[in-house]
Every structure is written in structure tokens, then in C-alpha cells.
Symmetry: C2
Subunit: 333 residues, 2 copies
């Protein structure tokens, strides 16, 4: 492997000079520069970035911890991060936990070991141990999707999105609305979206039937099963009534629910209106197209990256950014 030393010898200059032309720093006369560049060209020399890092204390690497790469949300966020960061000459070290919470902690250590300049954490939980660890490793970090005191974050306005979506249902005349949620340890998706729904119902003097509130996990089939439970529970209670609408906290859950509804011959939106969250691409092509909430995930990634960049360069930067959302009203409602 050819090094800066070799180049220096071949060009009959000092290593410092080579370093100077490499980094365009300091003054180098035109002919010396030419000479050095020629040698570099000939040898195909490419400087070692980590040797440089050892000196400069900057790796120009940002670690991105995510729960799974297999969702559109993650994809878009990572795309956004990548676009923004690559412009600044940073690369991304991928840390995919595959939904394993323990790995989140491990990766935090690992990224510290790698001396990444910053970390972006696409979070699914806000447990104290995690928060503690984050503060312990002491690396600029911004969290996406969940907000925690003392940690920079970019979040979505889950609460108000849920409220507005619910209100839209109500305005359309729906009073009996079912809800498919997820565990509340996911504060953003599990807790806030549910709270938004409930608060808006109450604000409109509407009761919520406990049996129509189902909890699912993050996959399509789970949405199917939750929908089934809503309808079968309805038929076994004294009320014998059925909701006229259902809100699912993710598009995938909504897709699962739709699947069940279609199997039962329940027409959408005539017999049952439905909506999801996330604006995944496919929702536009469903039959009928699904009403959903667009959070502009890619933008979230960009914003987070920019926040991190500012933080890494000790510029002023707000602690918390809450991103806007956009209701995407389609035929399913």
C-alpha cells in the first residue's frame, strides 16, 4: 500500500507538502503542486482516512441506529439523512437492531468505539437505561420519532395528527369509531396517537367502546386480527352494534384490517371507513385508496442530519424540532 511517505520521496518533497496539496491547505507553489499531483496520479495513491482521523479526531462518520430497515418510514428517513450528510462529506455507519432492544445499547457502545462524530437514533422507546447510556457515551446525538428531555430530537406531531384525523371522521358523520393501536411503550405511535384519538372523541362528546380499542403489533396480519376482534367482540356484546369506521395507527395495520373487511364482504368506505398513518407508497394504489397521514419522513431525516451537523459544529441549534404533518384524504374515508 502506497503511503504519503512514498509520494513525498517520489516527488522529492516532504510529507508535509504532500499533505498540503492533499488538503489544499497552506501555500504550495504551482510547480511543486503539479509534481506532487503527478506522482499521486501515477501511483493511484489514495490517502488513508483513518490515519487522518487519528490526527484530526474527526472520523466524518455518523452512526445511524434503526429498529429495522424493512419499513418505508426507516427507508425514507435514512435516505433523507444520507442526502444531507453526504453533502457535508459524512458517511453513514449502519446499525440495524432488527427490533432487538438490547442491540440498541450495544450499538451505542460500538459507535463510541468507532469514534463516530455523531449519532442519529431512530427510536422506538424512551426507556431510562437507554437515555442514561446516551448521556454516558457523550457523543452528539439526535433522536428521531421520540422526544426525551435533554436529548435533541426531531419528532412528528403524532398527537395533533391523530386528533385532526379523528375529527375528520367525525365531521363525516362517524360516531362509532374503532381504533387499532400498538403498545404504549412506543410513546409516539402507541401512546400519542391513541391519546389524540381519545381526546378528540371526548371533545366531541363521543363515547369509545372499549372492545373497539384493539392493540396490535407492527405487521399486516396483526391488523387483520385486530379488525377481526373488533367485529367479533361487537357481535357478542349486548350492544350488537358495529363501528362505522376504524383508525389504524400504521398503514400496514390498516392494510391488514382492509384485508379482513374485504373477506367479510364489508364494503369500504360504504360500510366501514378506514384510515392509517404513514403515507406509504402503496396506500395510493389500494382499492379504494387509503386515507392516511403523511409525515414527510425524508424531510425528518434531513432535518435531523442538519441538526446534528449544527450540534457537531457547536452552532446554535434548537433542542427539539416537531415536524408538521399532512392529512391525505382518499376514498377509504
Amino acid at each position: 500500500m502506497v503511503t504519503i511517505k512514498n509520494i513525498a520521496e517520489m516527488a522529492k518533497v516532504s510529507r508535509t507538502t504532500v499533505s498540503r496539496v492533499l488538503n489544499n491547505s497552506g501555500y504550495v507553489s504551482e510547480d511543486v503542486r503539479k509534481r506532487v499531483e503527478k506522482v499521486i496520479e501515477e501511483t493511484g495513491y489514495i490517502p488513508s482516512h483513518y490515519a487522518k482521523s487519528l490526527r484530526t479526531k474527526k472520523t466524518k462518520i455518523v452512526g445511524v441506529i434503526l429498529p429495522t430497515i424493512q419499513t418505508e418510514t426507516s427507508n425514507r428517513i435514512v435516505t433523507g439523512i444520507g442526502k444531507e450528510l453526504s453533502q457535508q462529506g459524512y458517511e453513514i455507519l449502519l446499525a440495524n437492531t432488527n427490533l432487538n432492544k438490547e442491540k440498541e445499547m450495544e450499538y451505542l457502545e460500538l459507535l463510541k468505539e468507532r469514534r463516530v462524530d455523531g449519532i442519529i437514533l431512530i427510536a422506538t422507546n424512551t426507556e431510562p437505561v437507554l437515555v442514561e447510556k446516551i448521556k454516558e457515551i457523550n457523543i452528539p446525538l439526535v433522536m428521531i420519532g421520540q422526544a426525551v428531555d435533554g436529548i435533541m430530537s426531531v419528532t412528528f406531531d403524532d398527537y395533533h395528527a391523530a386528533r385532526e384525523l379523528t375529527l375528520t371522521f367525525i365531521k363525516k358523520g362517524h360516531q362509532d369509531i374503532a381504533f387499532i393501536g400498538v403498545d404504549e411503550t412506543d410513546r409516539a405511535v402507541g401512546y400519542l396517537r391513541k391519546k389524540g384519538f381519545l381526546d378528540e372523541m371526548v371533545a366531541n362528546q363521543l363515547k369509545v367502546n372499549e372492545e373497539w380499542m384493539q392493540k396490535a403489533i407492527f405487521d399486516i396480519d396483526s391488523g387483520h386480527d385486530a379488525m377481526e376482534k373488533v367485529l367479533t367482540s361487537a357481535s357478542t356484546t349486548y350492544k350488537k352494534s358495529i363501528p362505522t369506521a376504524v383508525i389504524a395507527v400504521t398503514d400496514r395495520l390498516a392494510i391488514g384490517a382492509i384485508n379482513y373487511l374485504k373477506k367479510q364482504g364489508i364494503r369500504i368506505p360504504k360500510d366501514m371507513a378506514i384510515a392509517g398513518f404513514g403515507a406509504s407508497e402503496i396506500t395510493r394504489y389500494l382499492d379504494p385508496p387509503l386515507t392516511t397521514v403523511d409525515y414527510q419522513n425524508e424531510k425528518a431525516g434531513e432535518v435531523a442530519a442538519r441538526q446534528l451537523y449544527n450540534r457537531m459544529h457547536a452552532q446554535k441549534c434548537t433542542e427539539k424540532v416537531v415536524l408538521d404533518y399532512r392529512l391525505v384524504l382518499r376514498k377509504s374515508l
Copy 2:
């Protein structure tokens, strides 16, 4: 930042000894080890990986170059790579070209600069400049999705998958089959899948109507438009006939096509049978469920990672692996 030197001083041993306990190498007496470990624990010392790399010439990082992270295919491949590699203590440096071919070359240089131990390239083309660059940088590399002489690769059996899928259509009685492809510079998806289709048609003495062979790009709407062209061209020719089936080279294209068909009131599969490639999750939940080809992308990622690992450790490893596929027959056919 606390370093190995500090630890050594605090534990009243030499740096060498600290290094020994860190790497479990050489002999260290039990009490000295305890002492050192205690100091490490107290200080929260985490060794610098890149300083280590400078000495060992191993970064334990693998670069993954991909055209886009926004497709299920990529996701699954990356997931597979990640699972396999993390077991071996490697991390992934993400290089997302966002479908920009020039960036492919840039990233190759960049990864060289970062001194990654190996590279996995999810390729969309096999242009000579790219191949040349790959050989020039001289880093263990395995390509996924495309095969090139002299480069290790993991590919899918696109040709035979296309043939078998086509044969399945024919056996169901279809003779007039349309085809939605992509540009042939993508040898695997564009060229091989098309060739498989054509060869199988010919092998069964079936003619292919030129106007039913449409070329699209990689998005859903493009599938919609291609389908439209197939049907409108059909109605303007002297034949006045319409195909009874259509094969799209990706699931997304198929979804777009289905969208158009439904708008036109054409029933699937009664009036028009259809199939795609890729086995994306959603195909299972479409109405009707879409027949497709499962390439086991995650496995491809794993295999590629294992191949790369072997290559990096100078073990014997086959140059080219061709993965099996599986037809997923569903109601759309």
C-alpha cells in the same frame, strides 16, 4: 478522551499489558488483569477502533453500495448482509447512490479511502468503466444481482425464473401474453427476464406481438402507463385483439398495471391474468393476491456476506453463486 496510556498509568502497568487484557492475548496474571479491568470499568474507557485499525490494517468495516434503499429488494438484501456480517464483528458503511450511476464510482473511491475490508455492490449495471474501477481499487468485492467475468457475484436465476413463470401461464391456456419490461442495460431484470419470456414463448410455438412488449422504468405509475399502451395499441392495430395475460418484471410494475386494469373494469384474472417478480410483502394482500417470483433476497445478502468473508480470509470460495427462486402462485393467475 481517556486512552490506553491513561489506563496503563492508573493501573500502574505498561500499555502493552493493558493491550493484552483488552485483546485477551498473551499471558496476564490474574491480579494484574483484575486491576486493569477495574480501572477500565471506572473510567469508562473504550478503545479507539481506528487507532487499532492503523496498526492492524483491518477496519472491520464493509462498504455496501446500493442504488436505492427505498425498495424491498434492497432492504432485504441489506438486512441479510447485516445479520451475517455483524456476527463476524463487521459493521456496514452505507453508500446509497440514489440511482446516480456516477456516484457508484465515487463511492468506490471513497470506500477505498476508508480502507474498508470489503465491499458488497448491489448492482444495476455492468458497464466496463465500473468493472475497471472495481479491479483498480483492488478490494475484495462481491456483486449482487449482476454477474461479470472476474468478479465474485451472487445472482438470481432470472432467466429460468422468467421461463418457468411464462410456461405456467401457457399451461393455464394463455397464448396472448403481454410483457412489461425495463431497459436492457439492466442485464438481470431488463435483459434476462425478457429473454426468458421470449425463449419460452418460442419454445411453445407462440408468437409475441411487438406492441405488447412495453418498456417501463422502475415505478408503479410506469407500470400503469405501460399497461395502458399495451391495451390501446391493441385496439388500434388490425388485429383488434387483446392479450389475456401480462407479465411484469417487477411487482411494482404489476401493481401499476393492475391499477390501470381495474380502472378499465377489466377483471383479474378472468379477463387478464398477471404476475410480477420480487415477492414484495404487499403482493400477498392485493386483491386478488399477485402471482410473483420469490428470490429470497435476504438470503442473497447473507450468502454474499459469507462469500465476502471467505474471500477476505483467503479461504476457498466459488466465484459465482446463482441462487434458486421460487414461484409463488396466487389468484392473479
